[in-house]
């Protein structure tokens, strides 16, 4: 069943050289699944995620035929109604935990705030819920973490806290913007496992943004490959290695591999035609 349906999404920024299209006519749907979005830096992955939540501030412009969340078009909602959507129904884990937590607020307060915003509950209740949530993302010393400030946390913990904070209102959809790229390989694993478990248990829809093809291939159900603001290819994750688009192939081949030593790495040859071609739609 479709949770989110995006049709012909454009994100534009007016610049001195004219209008810059960060996202050009992207369409996709999301069910209760793990949808990966990959692409090189600047290909518009984050902007797509933010546009869904209507977080693009002026002068940026978001245009789309519709962005339907379980049937309602988010573009038609007032700012006030939109606030009820944010957090409670769609949540987003930001790219960099270091900058995404308020440095002068206790972590506990920030998590509880997210809960209290959408639930009529007392602080004690919120506290209990927050502790549970922290434990759910495998934070051991949850009591201490509640009292701590963001700068006292390592990158991995920060990322997990972000996840806990975004999941506490129990959203239908979670957008995770490169949740692991700032992390060490070992910590990366743990975070992925946690998210995986949560998606499975709660039946959420997950949009997983990353630039790491291998990671997405392994972790997600379906993958969108973006290039210059467009979706150039959509494929099932397990079939990623059979992808046809030269861009996707190039990305895959440019990675050094421990198991396949090579003298030279393959270098992506960009074809201007890629960015002119229309987005690959995914209407099901």
């Amino acid at each position: 069943m479709t949770l989110l349906d995006v049709q012909n999404l454009w994100v534009k920024f007016p610049t001195r050289q004219g209008i810059f299209d960060a996202v050009r006519g992207v369409s996709f749907t999301l069910g209760k699944e793990r949808l990966g979005i990959v692409g090189e830096s600047g290909s518009g992955k984050s902007m797509t995620g933010r546009a869904i939540l209507r977080l693009i501030r002026p002068p940026g412009i978001v245009e789309a035929d519709y962005i339907r969340l379980e049937g309602t078009n988010l573009l038609d909602l007032t700012e006030k109604q939109m606030r009820a959507v944010r957090g409670q129904r769609i949540s987003m884990v930001m790219q960099d935990p270091k900058f995404s937590l308020n440095p002068v607020m206790r972590i506990g307060d920030q998590i509880m705030e997210a809960y209290l915003l959408h639930n009529r509950a007392g602080r004690a209740d919120a506290r209990k819920k927050s502790l549970e949530m922290l434990e759910a993302v495998s934070i051991r010393d949850a009591e201490r973490v509640m009292r701590a400030y963001p700068h006292e946390m390592s990158g991995g913990m920060g990322q997990r806290i972000m996840i806990a904070m975004m999941l506490i209102p129990d959203p239908k959809i979670l957008i995770a913007d490169e949740p692991t790229s700032a992390l060490d390989v070992s910590v990366q694993r743990q975070v992925l496992d946690i998210m995986d478990a949560l998606v499975k248990e709660r039946g959420m829809g997950l949009i997983f943004i990353s630039h790491d093809l291998n990671l997405v291939a392994e972790f997600c159900d379906r993958v969108l490959i973006m290039y210059a603001g467009r979706i150039v290819e959509v494929c099932d994750a397990d079939r990623l290695h059979d992808a046809k688009h030269p861009y996707t192939r190039g990305l895959l081949n440019s990675l050094p591999r421990l198991d396949h030593p090579r003298d030279r790495l393959e270098v992506l040859q960009r074809d201007p035609a890629w960015s002119d071609a229309p987005s690959v739609g995914t209407q099901e």
Partner: protein, 352 residues
């Protein structure tokens, strides 16, 4: 002046007995700064062509009288010796006698400083109460008419000669409209009614329960204080705006929005919290500047404050008074600096 740049200077220090070390460091830096302050003031006193002897002996003094005063002041001793005499007195809290009015400088300062303190405090409060919200709104609505209005309001405050505003204000609100009390701190009727405890008439009269005096004192202070308030409003709102702009583009603000917070909660609950620290520094600085005494305001409003005290003393070569006043002002400056540092530690968890 934006002390926001200082963040880098205030990296957390030793985890080892940090309080002890930082207290020692702070104390020694105060001591060094004070010593330098004294030294420079002293040098200024010596190199100025204003002759302290003349201010005592007067224009018509004969040579003998002149020399007598010269020796009385100890001016025949080497400058270094004079400095050390002075230093040892100051350490004992003795700023010497004012050459001009034959009283201990410390007594004078006790009289004039509360006047300035009262004025500056009220002024800075007005500046904060109006300036901070103005700055925040301007930042949030960047580029809107309200931002432009805030800018013009602030810039007028920045660039209008304060004495011009002062005289005009006096003409309009006192001379024509009669809404406020005139120059001076109190009307003649109310002079010497309440006992001097703090030296700040508003406080003294409130303590004594003399509300009529309080009202009169307030009617006198409100105009000069608004003037100073406007001036600090200009500065505070500009700085608030630029701090807020920086915070509003930070990722955690987006995070807060993602949570579904209302814009107002995002601004005041999140972004504003983060500028508190910088704001404190700015306010402290602005307060310190007001406490330095706004000479021109004090002259126009016949306000017997420390600014005009020091200036009069300087113009008439009353070096003891100048030195005393400077030391006090410098000390306040340093204290405010330390105070804002302390608050910084309280408000910014990263500074621990």
């Amino acid at each position: 002046m934006a002390l926001s740049e200082n963040q880098t200077e205030r990296r957390p220090r030793a985890p080892l007995a940090p309080w002890l070390k930082s207290i020692l460091v702070t104390l020694s830096s105060i001591a060094v700064t004070m010593l330098g302050l004294l030294l420079i003031t002293f040098i200024i006193g010596r190199v100025m062509p204003i002759d302290p002897v003349l201010s005592i002996a007067g224009e018509r003094a004969s040579k003998e009288v002149y020399e007598q005063v010269y020796y009385e002041l100890g001016l025949d001793k080497p400058v270094i010796v004079q400095f050390f005499y002075y230093l040892s007195d100051v350490v004992r809290g003795d700023f010497g006698m004012s050459l001009l009015n034959a009283r201990p400088v410390s007594e004078d300062i006790r009289r004039v400083f509360p006047a300035t303190l009262e004025l500056a405090t009220l002024g800075v409060i007005m500046g904060i109460v109006l300036g901070v919200p103005l700055g925040v709104v301007a930042a949030v609505r960047r580029g809107s008419w309200i931002d432009q209005l805030a800018r013009v309001v602030a810039l007028v405050g920045y660039s209008m000669p304060i004495f011009w505003l002062g005289l005009m204000g006096l003409l309009v609100f006192y001379g024509i409209l009669g809404w406020v009390g005139g120059p001076g701190r109190l009307g003649i009727f109310f002079e010497d009614i309440v006992p001097t405890r703090t030296g700040m008439i508003l406080l003294d009269s409130a303590l004594a329960g003399e509300w009529a005096v309080f009202r009169d004192a307030f009617s006198h202070i409100v105009l000069p204080a608004s003037l100073l308030g406007y001036y600090s409003l200009a500065y505070i709102s500009r700085m608030t705006r630029s701090f807020m702009l920086e915070q509003m583009s930070a990722e955690y603000v987006t995070t807060a929005r993602v949570k579904g917070m209302s814009e107002r909660a995002v601004i005041w609950g999140h972004a504003f919290r983060n500028i508190r620290v910088q704001l404190i520094t700015v306010i402290a600085l602005s307060y310190a500047n007001l406490l330095e005494g706004s000479v021109l305001t004090e002259i126009i409003f016949s306000w017997p404050g420390i600014g005009s005290y020091i200036t009069t003393a300087l113009l008439s070569a009353d070096m003891n008074a100048v030195l005393g006043g400077t030391v006090v002002v410098g000390l306040i400056f340093i204290c405010l600096n330390i105070f804002s540092d302390l608050l910084y530690r309280v408000f910014d968890p990263r500074a621990k």
